[in-house]
Every structure is written in C-alpha cells, then in structure tokens.
Symmetry: C2
C-alpha cells in the first residue's frame, strides 16, 4: 500500500544516480509506482534515463514504458538492443505504437515495423491509415465484441477468452452477425445479472458511438460529458473497428487543454516536456506569434503618429498611455479567455454570437464605469481635472469595446472553422490597443477642445 504525494524523494534518486549506486537505485525503484518512475525517466538526461529503465524488471519495465510520452519512448528505445527493443514494441498497445510511429523519423519507424509480428503490424498499419487527429488514430482495435443472441454466461466466457489482450472489457460493444454495432453492454451489468439472462436484455441500444474518422478531441469530450468508460468506434458501414478508452480520452483532453492554454498566451503548443524541450524549440513555439504581434503593433505606432500634434501640445496625455492600453488589453483578454474556454467545454456555440456580444457589452460597460472612477481619481491627483476626465470617459468606451471584441472574435473564428483558441489574449490586446488609442485621442480632442 502506497499513498499519493511523492514530491520529496526525487533528490534521493538524483543522488543515487550521481553516485552510480545501482543497488540503491534498484531499491528506490521498487518502492514507487510506474507513473512516478516514468516521471523521473522523463526528467533525467538520456544516459541516466536508459540506465534507470534497464534496472527495472521485465513486467515493470513494460508498465513504465506505457506511461511515457512518445518522445520519451523513442529516447528509451534508441538505447535498447534488438531483442529488448522488439519485445517492448511488440507488447505496446496498437494505438500507442501508432502514436510513436506518427512522430518518429522514418529510419526509426522502419526498425519498429521490421520486428513486429504480422498481426500487430497489420493492426498498427490500419490505425496509421486514419487521418492525424482522428479517433481512428487513438482507439484500441482490440475491442471485445459480444453477441446479443447469447446468454450472460456465454458472454462472460467469451470475455474470459478474448479479454486478457484487450485494452478494456468494461464497455462491451454488442454486434450482429456482420459485426455491425447494435449497442453496448457493461461488464458491470453482466456481472450483476442472472447468468442465464439473454445479453439482449442488457444492451443499451441508445449507446453512443463515433465513426473512426471523427475528430478525436470531440469524441473525448463526448465521453467526458456522457460519463463513458469506453466509446465504440465504427466504420462508414457501422461495423465495429475499435474502442476509445477513457484513459486515452483524458490524455486527449489534457493535450487539447494544454494547447489551448499555450495558444491563449499567443504561443504554439510545445510538443513535449517543458523541461526537456530544447531552448530553441521553446523559442520557436513562441516566435511566430511574438513577431506577428509586433508587426500588428505597428498599427499603434501609426495611430500615435496620427495624433502626434495632439501629443506634442499636451505631453501629459502620454503619461497614461501604458495604463490605458493595459486596462483595455486586460478587459479584452478576460473576455476572450472566457469565450474560448466556454467554447472548448461546450457551453457556448458559434450561433450564440449575438447573445454573447450583448452580454459582454453590458459587462464591459459595468467594468468600464468602475475603472473610470478609480482612473479619474488617479488622474485628478497626478495631473489635473481635464486630463482625468479624458481618462475616465475613454476607459468606459474602451472597456466596453474590448469586452465585445474579445468575446466575439473567438466565436467568429469558430464559425469560420478556425480554432477559437488561436484568438489569443495577446492578439485581442494588440488590436484593442490601437483602437483604444484612437478612442483616447478623439476623446482628448473633444474634451480639451482642439
């Protein structure tokens, strides 16, 4: 019996690795569950990682291997001799293997395929035939279909026969003679039922299923919403081709969320571990957006040039530019982030755009009024009434404008079939900056009577 929370013993392992204390490392390894060891392997340099892995006994090695990301799996495999290499690869679930091959260089992929048994190679090839990002790439082809015509005892016997190799036996696709999906039964219902009862009584004929070409993230979110442990996957003729399991679904959702978060901050998602990705990889994942945003920010320079005369007359106006631009940007970023998240979790759809705009207009006006009171006071204390008034009035308009633009842009993107998360907070901020400055200077000209 072990209890969660392993944060403290990492230093011990680091020390053991540095001292090259093999016996000590072996004792350390024995105490921890596979996912902790996998985490340490991920965080270690390649040589140490391969050493750690070699010290695991065979069963645990496989368990740990299954917990690793594809990039880490490749790292470990590269350090194995042919025999161990092929044993590991042969034992992988076909969907994990397909994921590994999808990211690996061609030479490595050939080495993997060369050592596989024919059956496993065929299954992997079938998965790789589905488009990237589809359910087909992430499902397990080893579902255990049962027939509606038999009894519970017959179904359980079949599960005992076929189940040891399957990724899940908790959701059982029920099929007809032509392998067409009729519905699902759960292992729970079979175990709780009378052994002589026909399986047909236990089938949920309204059970959900998805085609193999469907979007994997959407299928995963569907499983989450409907609380499913397994989701049958079918071909275009409704024949069973596999099953998506909840652990793969969770991983899909987590990856999608991490991507969304990265995009929200205006960076491409990093494929890999934050600490082990190279500095160049990290920089590259952020560079494109930073550059685009810099170029977009040239717009604000143009606006400033447009009002250079106003600025030269009242230099005090310049003092509040960072504050104003910041407040507008923040209001826009908040709205954009809520909208992107609400779309991701399915609370808002593209057709809600008017409803959202109307809500955000009112939210923005509320927030703007509140901020304008504070900003007016700050301005009055620091420079005087007239500029304070300019500041207060502009803030109301800028906040309302920012909230509407921030929330509407992701919805419009969704309607145009662009990933809404691409409407990052920085993009909204940059656009709101330029328009906010226009509002500010126009209000200034009106109030200060140029």
């Amino acid at each position: 019996m072990t209890t969660g929370g392993y944060d403290t013993d990492h230093e011990e392992l680091t020390e053991l690795l540095e001292r090259n204390d093999l016996a000590g490392i072996q004792r350390w390894i024995a105490d921890y569950p596979p996912h902790v060891i996998a985490d340490e392997i991920t965080r270690a340099e390649q040589v140490a990682a391969i050493m750690l892995f070699r010290l695991l006994d065979k069963d645990r090695a496989l368990e740990v291997f299954e917990e690793l990301d594809p990039t880490e799996q490749q790292k470990i495999l590269s350090g194995q001799r042919d025999h161990a290499f092929h044993e590991l690869v042969e034992a992988m679930d076909p969907d994990d293997r397909a994921r590994l091959l999808g990211e690996a260089p061609a030479k490595f992929a050939r080495r993997v395929l060369a050592g596989l048994s024919q059956q496993e190679r065929e299954m992997t090839a079938a998965l790789l035939g589905y488009p990237q990002g589809s359910v087909g790439r992430h499902m397990s082809p080893k579902a255990v279909p049962v027939r509606a015509t038999g009894t519970v005892t017959q179904a359980l016997r079949r599960i005992r026969l076929k189940g040891s190799d399957a990724e899940t036996v908790y959701t059982l696709p029920v099929v007809d003679e032509e392998r067409r999906l009729i519905g699902t039964a759960t292992l729970r219902s079979l175990v709780l039922a009378d052994p002589d009862q026909p399986v047909a009584d236990l089938v949920d004929r309204q059970a959900l299923s998805v085609p193999a070409t469907a979007d994997a993230e959407e299928a995963a979110r569907l499983m989450q919403e409907a609380n499913l442990l397994g989701l049958p996957v079918v071909d275009s003729e409704d024949r069973l081709v596999g099953i998506l399991t909840i652990d793969d679904a969770i991983e899909l959702i987590e990856t999608a969320d991490t991507e969304d978060v990265a995009r929200l901050a205006g960076a491409s998602p990093l494929t890999g571990h934050y600490l082990t990705a190279s500095v160049f990889q990290v920089a590259r994942s952020r560079a494109v957006w930073l550059l685009l945003l810099l170029v977009a920010a040239t717009l604000s320079v143009n606006v400033m040039q447009l009002f250079e005369d106003t600025l030269a007359k009242v230099t005090a106006l310049a003092l509040f530019i960072p504050l104003l631009v910041g407040a507008g940007g923040n209001a826009g970023a908040q709205a954009a982030t809520s909208a992107v998240r609400a779309i991701a979790v399915g609370e808002v759809r593209a057709r809600d755009v008017l409803r959202v705009a109307w809500r955000e207009l009112r939210v923005g006006l509320n927030l703007g009024l509140m901020l304008s009171v504070v900003a007016f006071s700050i301005g009055a204390i620091l420079v005087g009434w007239s500029i304070a008034a300019v500041l207060g009035i502009s803030l109301v308009a800028i906040c309302a404008w920012a909230a509407v633009v921030g929330a509407v842009m992701p919805l419009v993107a969704k309607r145009l079939r662009i990933d809404p998360a691409v409407i990052s907070a920085p993009l909204v901020t940059t656009l709101v900056d330029a328009t906010g400055l226009i509002i500010y200077f126009l209000v200034a000209q009106a109030v200060l009577q140029f």
Copy 2:
C-alpha cells in the same frame, strides 16, 4: 444506436418550446441521450427547463438530473412538488448531494435533508464533514470492499449482492477484518481469473490510495497519471471510507483547468455556466483583478513622469511605447502561461526555479534578438536610425527580463503555497510594463546622449 454530434437540432427544440408543443418535445427528448438533454436544460430559461424536465419519464429524469451542475439541479428541484423533490434527492449519489448542499442556501438545504432516509442523510453528513476541496467531499462512500481471504467466486457473489448501489465495481478495494485497506483488485482480473483462485493472488498491494483530507484536485491528477478508474480513500488509520471514481476525477480536473484559464487571464473563476450566469456575476468575477491591475499600472504612470523631460525633448519616443510595452507584455505572458501549465500538469516543481530561470533567460534573449531586428527596421523606416537603435537594444533586454520574470513568478508563488495560476498573464504584463519603460528610457538616455 446514436452517433455523436448534436449541434444542429437545438433550433428544433427551441421552436417546439416556443410553440408549447408537448408531444413534439416528448418525441425530441426520446431521441437524445441524457447529457444532451441536460445541456438543453442548462441553456433554457427556468420555466422552460422545468417543463422539459417534467416531460421526461422517471428513469431518464434521474439520469438527466445527474448530469446537471449543482446550480442547475437546484433550479430544477425548486420547481418540483415535495414527492418528486424527495425522490430525486434520495436517488442522488451522496457525493453529488454533498456538492449540491455545499452551494445551496440554508433553507433549501434543510428541505433536502428533511426528506432523506436516515442512511442517506448520515452518508451525506459524513461527506460534508470533510473540508471543502478535499477528496472526502468528492468520493463515493459506497465502495464495494472485498476480502483477500475468499475465492474469486465468493468475491463475485459479494459484488452481485452489494454492487447494484455502488458508484463503481471496477476497482475493488481489498480490506482486512478491520476494514483496513490492503490493496485493490479489478473486476477485470476477477472475471478473467479461475473461479476457485484466492482473491489474495489478484490483489495489487502497491495500489495507490489517498487520505480523505487530501486535496481533491491532486488526487484527481494522480488518478489521471496512474491511469486509475477508481482510487480508494482512507481515514487516518488507513481504514477504507470511500472511493474516488474517474468520472468525478475528470470533472475535478476540468473545473481546475477552467479556473486556471480564468486566472491566467486575470479573472476569478466563474462558478456557473457562461451563458446563464448574470451580467453582474460575470462583471464581479473580473472586476477585482481589473481594479488591482489598474492600480498597479499607476506605477507605469510614475515611471513616465520620471522621464517626462526626456519625453518632452524627443516626442518620437512616445510613438513606440504601446508597441514596446506590448511586446514585453506578450513575452512575459507566454513565459508565465507555460510555467503555470507545466506546474499544473506536474512537469515542473517549485525546486526547479533556477533551471527554469536559466532556460527562460536564453529563450528570452533569442526572442528579443529576433524581435529587435524587425523593430529596428520598422523604427528606421518610420522615424530614423537613432530611435530605431534605442528600440532594438531595449527590446532584447525587455524580452529576456520578461521571460525570466514571467516564468519565475508562478514558481515562487508555488513555493509560497499560493496558487501559481494567480500569477496571471496580466499581472506579469503590468509589472513588466513599468520595468520595461525604465529600460527603454535609460537606453534612450544612453544612446541619445542626454
């Protein structure tokens, strides 16, 4: 058999509801799984929601009810007569009921408790005894413990007897005579095993468990990392008190992610549905941070005042302030967001702070150099060489500084036991704005030789 993707038929239901076409609504309802109906109820006004709910037959009503958020459950319950009210509440899982009561007003809570059977009331009270945010609040007390001393057949008989009421029977806690946890067995291993085999052979004695007072989100992430469908929960004497199931874990993770995303954008998490929360609630969730950030931005006004003379001499410097402040803010926000996410998914820990700072310094310098080339060209075209040089040099320094500050702040927060997500991108941006301006003006003074 139904297939995923229900986006299109929402309009149909809206029309049926408007026409008050009960028969039509009933036909519509019959076609959709519970989570879709729950979604429609969530999006509908209260009266329509209650009408929709009343049209469901009893079994489906309960299924749909279980899919609703606590706020929606309260909305629906308020519209029920006593009899239906008590039936719904009595049938809820104790953990869902505890969550409902945790958020409900006292009067409503009394009405719920009054109608419960003694057994259910006691279970709910026990859960409510655990602190908010702990595993105890989210576990199901109805685990099905089995004994290691019996055979597989005996264990399966016990599951058949006790399992119908349990939230899961797939992960079976194995206990001794004093209900102390020894390990877990899976239903899969029982079903696949020889019926006469002793359960003891199938027990995973290294199985994870958590104390009921542990943090619920951490327990949920543990389940995800270790690919568990159920995680036994124990008291301080290692006695079994319940089990955390994967569907509750996923919900915990999703809620935590939504909170993180909201905080990243500098807003408090919204506790309800984006479309049904009131404008006031949405505004409130964003107001505190916007105000704090506005006040913090006063710092930038002070910096500008400090350099007002410089600015008056070369007004052209003002032109690039929004661009510069924007670029620094973006670089900081990217770094902060990566760090917060890496902490959330467990890739980075508080002690990695130096490693992270050194990485981000190099990333920031790379990005800064790249941006500075572009900004220099823009500056040279628009205003001339000297200001372009100021712009280029400052950008390198600002990007490096922003990346380090952005990534280190969440880690420092983590070490101080503050939620790292509180270090929102806007907070980093606001702080980087002020320091970035100082860098800019100092570089300007040096290059332009004041």
